[in-house]
Symmetry: C2
Subunit: 402 residues, 2 copies
């Protein structure tokens, strides 16, 4: 239900999370509907650290649909945005004709103003479009009081956005149908299922902007025979194994599969022609560090995964967080001045044993990592009750716009 | 026939070339016999620039087999060395029993002294073991006057050594037999077939020694499902296409296949667990430079390939060499002092158009490339007639040993 009315404008504000895949999505079989060539699985990160916030306002007074992203007005006619608006309005029409004729306060002809922002810098290299589209679709659904399969709508904004519609551990079924109706996200387990699981985002200094994922994955589909093999012969079994590892809270299997899947995704990028590189020398050092750390303890305590950029996302368990953060600080000594190195959930300090640092035996790389965001699995999208947090003012325009 | 006798010691000295694969060998199906999981194809480089030299001396006076590599005595009991000595002696026995009993000047019980060196630094990251084992086997065969299928013997020293037994364009048939008798090298075309083809070895500054290829490829076979797919489903077709491109001197197809195959090899390294990285940030910049250069001319004029290290080997045609070298110098400005940047075949100087450097539009990376070796396809192993070039002195010990 709409929660606030001011001068015949209705406002709803919601937040939605970032998700980090442990079985990666790379490649579409349908560009328009955003249907993937393989299923995928992700962990939803906690919104206390990373979230998108969206306010949608609806009024008979608005002359046109408009959108502002991170304070800047963007083109509302972008096809993927239009897909989401069209699909959500289709659900409204369907509900009215089916069971609730005439009961809505909102006319379908009313225009919307959308304002969205992230609480994390673009530099963090996190897939802001997933959180952003999940937030848009969820907010519109609350504004227009529609229910039903919303993940298929978010999917049409940005593929992995469908997974941000749920908290905890989420799989995106690739589906078989040409119309995409069965290409939906589903929660495997809620965030409460594995309370010890922790996530560290290691933000790496990057010199160049990498190839965008939309263009990149299309080139991979067109040119990489390894990608086709991965989608058909590797991912189905890996999805089953990953779900079992999560259900059993088996970190060793979860971590190993996560690392293997990240590496295989980047391998298919390299098999693309021309090849695509997302990992840089710092990323590779993080990979080396993780394997040496685990080898020292003779078990998988820490796992890395990389999306379409050089930043590492580390999965680990609560007892290992403080030591591993200290290890990162040791081998990537941070700048002493400037912003704080560790953000998010507090991390205890420990001193490292000489035995451990000797076993890792890597050269240090000062400033290789800019900062760490410490977080954990979290819930799905939420409505914000506090009306003072609306991003749009009483006039339906951004509060912070110039 | 042995060519020199001094004080009852017989000496033979030969040289053998380096080869650079354009369809890569990675993974064995038999570790002892060194049988590969896929066929491969390489270009033999000219020995005027890069070669191994080996002198073998044989005498009743020698008490044991001994070997010196690059001036340092090594363990003769190394299994692969023993394989080569055993197999070549088996050929000698076979020849004697078959058709030439008692005619040999050399007793099978005579011991050998082997001395081998490369004219290129280990830092060049070229597979010195291929040239080295090819040279050893060829030299032994000349000393002991044996003929026959020598590439299967060189293969048992180092897999890719079998391809260095021929000049020009050489394929290594993976073979089907368990005993490896059909896993042989064969010349596709001699070096004279494609006189315009040129090779540039771009020696990159590397901070660490990468994972050795023997250990690396075994881990890949054990853990990478993409490697298995590549060997079974990709390489057979690619071998056929590559041979056709060479026969037709079709550089565009040759270059594109070469780049795709290098990328796919490195993709399977990344799909290995733990992953193996041979390319570094400089390698990636070279890859980017080549694609931008080709894109500017709307044709494949230059192609890269990388083996188990960060150094780039560039294939191109004679008319493009001087410009491309200038492009490399522009984007990787060399040190002004110190050793010369360009070694090997002379390269003309040209000035670059602003249009070209603007089209490439990359940041420069001073000293990213240490030097370039300019060369071309060349012949197979050769006997050295000049006895003053023997690496072993009249006493059967290295001339240069301490």
């Amino acid at each position: 239900m709409p929660e606030d009315t001011t001068q015949d404008i209705i406002f709803v504000t919601c937040t939605a999370p970032v998700n980090i895949a442990v079985v990666k999505y790379w490649g579409k079989r349908d560009e328009d509907l955003i249907l993937p060539i393989n299923s995928s699985l992700s962990v939803t990160l906690h919104q206390d650290q990373l979230k998108s916030t969206t306010t949608v306002a609806c009024s008979a007074r608005f002359k046109e649909d408009r959108i502002w992203l991170n304070g800047k007005e963007e083109n509302i006619n972008q096809p993927r945005l239009q897909s989401c608006l069209r699909e959500i309005r289709r659900l409204v029409r369907k509900r009215r004709s089916n069971r609730d004729p005439g009961a809505d306060v909102l006319s379908l002809s009313h225009k919307v103003h959308i304002c969205s922002e992230n609480n994390f810098p673009t530099a963090a290299g996190l897939a802001s479009s997933a959180a952003g589209y999940a937030c848009l679709v969820y907010t519109l659904s609350r504004l227009l009081s529609v229910e039903g399969e919303l993940s298929t709508i978010a999917r049409q904004g940005s593929g992995s956005a469908c997974r941000s519609m749920y908290g905890g551990f989420v799989q995106w079924h690739m589906g078989m149908r040409a119309d995409g109706k069965d290409s939906v996200a589903e929660q495997v387990e809620p965030e409460s299922h594995w309370p010890e699981l922790r996530v560290l985002v290691l933000v790496v200094s990057a010199e160049r902007k990498p190839v965008g994922s939309t263009a990149g994955m299309q080139t991979s589909v067109d040119t990489s025979s390894l990608l086709k093999h991965r989608a058909e012969a590797v991912v189905p079994g890996r999805m089953d194994e990953m779900i079992q590892a999560i259900r059993k809270r088996d970190f060793s299997t979860f971590g190993e599969l996560t690392m293997k899947d990240s590496n295989q995704f980047h391998a298919t990028c390299l098999d693309t022609y021309p090849p695509i590189f997302y990992l840089n020398d710092v990323s590779r050092r993080v990979i080396g560090l993780v394997h040496r750390y685990n080898r020292h303890y003779r078990e998988t305590r820490v796992a890395y995964t990389f999306d379409a950029g050089p930043n590492a996302v580390i999965y680990t368990l609560q007892p290992y967080v403080s030591e591993f953060v200290q290890v990162v600080k040791h081998f990537f000594p941070p700048e002493t001045n400037g912003e704080e190195f560790l953000k998010g959930l507090p991390v205890g300090t420990v001193s490292l044993s000489d035995e451990l640092t000797r076993a890792i035996a890597m050269d240090t790389l000062p400033k290789g990592i800019r900062y760490i965001i410490s977080t954990k699995p979290g819930p799905g999208p939420r409505m914000v009750e506090d009306t003072s947090l609306h991003l749009l003012g009483p006039d339906g325009l951004p509060r912070t716009s110039a």
